[in-house]
């Protein structure tokens, strides 16, 4: 890189994504702290290690094939019938390693000199930003299934979700040229469904096969409230997730690009430098900062009201609020974002308790509700609120549900509803339900009954945490009745 301005833009972009990755790390710290707080003492270490070990497994598999999926599948199968070449994203590419941007000496892949220079700088941080989304998507499932799933099953499921299904949905609906964007006008800028909807659907698929924790439901079907071992850990964990979410939002943007230049519109007009979302349509960090904070606030306000001040659901409401508004938080007015967040929290809270009672579904931390139902609702709401906006910068008059005067597919309610359905049910629920059935058939899904009653921390790690006697004692009596075949 010898041109000063170009070099500065590329190296700024490299640094920008690197910072987002560090911030997003806090999401995983938050999930671990939060799940440890939500688990009973007898299961704490199992809960912690289950969620921790998804980090290396999703990371290496995302290196082996996840990154390639994102770049190979955007047009497949509805616009192109073959996969796109992605020579910088296959694990045997020189550009998937330390590289100075000179010639690719060993391979014969068709990369221009400019491509090589660009990807040599950006590939690692861009890969990592997407990878951290992978961790988040997979980790969302973790909380729902605590205290009875075998670690082995969870770690296989997270490879499927973290390194294949979610990144396939991102290729289709969360890239500048994905077929859902070009044909359906799909818009989900900060991943209401792209990350949260699919994760909620995945968790639901696993939960249906896994079943509730022993003692969660009384003999007459009444749900029991299994007390959290440490509510303060739960709330601190959720605070950490909020913090990491700043990085998540920033990572969803392209930080600086000439909107009229060759990489976007190429219209010959004077250069206009701006941030864009993943669809290369313009936004700014200021816009999304307004909306992030207003939707967080709306979610907290609504969570406090619907739960009558319960800390867990108030904090979860903040998260669900942001998730609901995320689809359109690049464009909403801040007060619109706040109101949409409140609606999403109400839906998530009511749905969680209705599904729990109706279907005896034991979602230990409300993950299906906070991420799945809120994400689904937010994507559908964005289809109405943003109806008529151009969804991307690719023309061609190929949108199924309307195009603007430039020939670009417009955002619309049908496209966003179909997208929400596809991600929650087809790419989320279905693959995880099938995989869970297979794992269950092999005896790999759920720990034996005796282990669950005595605690999953059977290993000789020793005690690691102060004993909150009252909270565990509440459920110990239930466990004893179950051990005797009663209750």
């Amino acid at each position: 890189m010898s041109d000063g301005l170009d070099s500065l833009m590329v190296i700024f972009t490299e640094f920008y994504y690197w910072v987002t990755v560090v911030m997003m790390f806090l999401i995983h710290v938050g999930f671990c702290v939060y799940e440890v707080g939500a688990s009973r003492r007898k299961n704490i270490q199992h809960t912690l290690m289950k969620n921790t070990m998804l980090i290396p497994l999703v990371t290496i598999t995302f290196y082996f094939f996840g990154w390639w999926v994102y770049w190979a599948f955007p047009l497949f199968p509805l616009i192109e019938t073959s996969l796109a070449a992605a020579p910088f994203a296959v694990p045997w590419s020189e550009l998937m390693g330390t590289h100075m941007g000179g010639s690719v000496t060993v391979q014969t892949e068709s990369l221009t000199a400019d491509d090589t220079m660009y990807w040599a700088r950006i590939n690692g941080v861009f890969w990592a930003a997407f990878l951290l989304f992978s961790w988040t998507t997979a980790s969302i499932i973790s909380g729902a299934v605590i205290e009875r799933i075998k670690t082995q099953a969870f770690l296989i499921i997270v490879v499927l979700v973290g390194s294949f299904t979610w990144i396939l949905d991102a290729a289709w609906g969360w890239s500048w040229n994905g077929w859902m964007v070009q044909l359906w006008g799909f818009h989900d800028a900060y991943a209401s469904s792209v990350v949260h909807g699919i994760a909620g659907g995945s968790a639901l698929g696993v939960l249906l096969v896994l079943g509730p924790r022993l003692g969660k439901f009384a003999a007459d079907g009444t749900p029991r409230d299994i007390p959290q071992n440490n509510p303060w850990f739960v709330t601190v964990g959720l605070f950490l997730i909020y913090t990491g979410f700043w990085g998540f939002y920033a990572a969803c943007n392209v930080p600086i690009i000439d909107f009229n230049g060759p990489l976007v519109l190429a219209n010959g007009n004077e250069a206009f430098f701006t941030a864009t979302n993943i669809y290369l349509t313009p936004t700014s960090l200021s816009a999304i900062t307004f909306n992030f904070l207003m939707s967080l606030s709306g979610g907290l306000l609504a969570g406090y009201v619907v739960s009558r001040g319960d800390p867990f659901w108030s904090y979860s409401g903040g998260l669900a609020g942001v998730i609901t508004a995320s689809s359109g938080n690049d464009l909403y007015h801040p007060i619109e974002a706040m109101i949409i967040a409140m609606v999403g929290v109400w839906i998530a809270y009511k749905m969680h308790h209705w599904v729990e009672r109706k279907f005896k579904l034991d979602d230990a931390v409300g993950a299906v509700a906070v991420h799945g139902y809120a994400g689904f609702a937010g994507t559908v709401i964005a289809g109405f609120m943003l109806w008529g906006y151009p969804s991307n910068v690719v023309g061609g008059d190929i949108g199924w549900f309307g195009n603007n005067a430039d020939g670009v597919a417009i955002i619309n309610p049908i496209g966003n509803f179909l997208g929400a359905m596809l991600f929650f049910w087809v790419l989320g629920f279905l693959p995880c339900w099938i995989l869970s059935k297979v794992l269950d058939g092999m005896g790999w899904l759920r720990v034996p009954r005796e282990i669950e009653l005595a605690g999953l921390d059977t290993h000789d790690y020793g005690d690691s945490f102060p004993y909150h006697a009252y909270r565990d004692t509440v459920m110990e009596d239930v466990d004893r009745e179950l051990a005797k075949g009663q209750g």
Binding site: S2, R41, K42, L57, I60, T61, Y63, F64, P91, W92, S93, E94, M96, G97, T98, H99, M100, G101, G102, S103, V104, T105, V106, T116, A120, K150, T151, Q152, L155, I156, W444, V447, P448, E450, I451, L453, A454, G455, D457, T458, H459, D460, Y461, G462, D463, Y467, E476, D479, R480, A483, K484
Partner: protein
């Protein structure tokens, strides 16, 4: 041995700077094998852990196991 870089004097022409360029394919194969082998080891290890615990609970009775919950280090031995 191949460091792949003998001088920084013409940095603009440098491509890959990791040692032994050209062995990317073998590295990928080794990496995938390590990934799969790790799963196999983890599955066996976890199942054995539960089998050991179950054997112990059957010996002492589940009620006794519940009495000692949270102190399994004194109950279950692993070899």
């Amino acid at each position: 041995m191949s460091t792949n870089v003998e001088s920084w004097s013409d940095v603009a022409s440098l491509g890959a700077i990791y040692p032994f360029p050209g062995i990317e394919w073998p590295l990928v194969i080794i990496g995938v094998l390590i990934w799969l082998a790790w799963h196999c080891w983890q599955i066996r290890s976890e199942n054995k852990e539960y089998d050991d615990a179950l054997r112990h609970y059957n010996e002492v009775g589940l009620d006794a196991a519940l009495d000692h919950r949270g102190r399994h280090d004194s109950m279950v031995t692993h070899d």
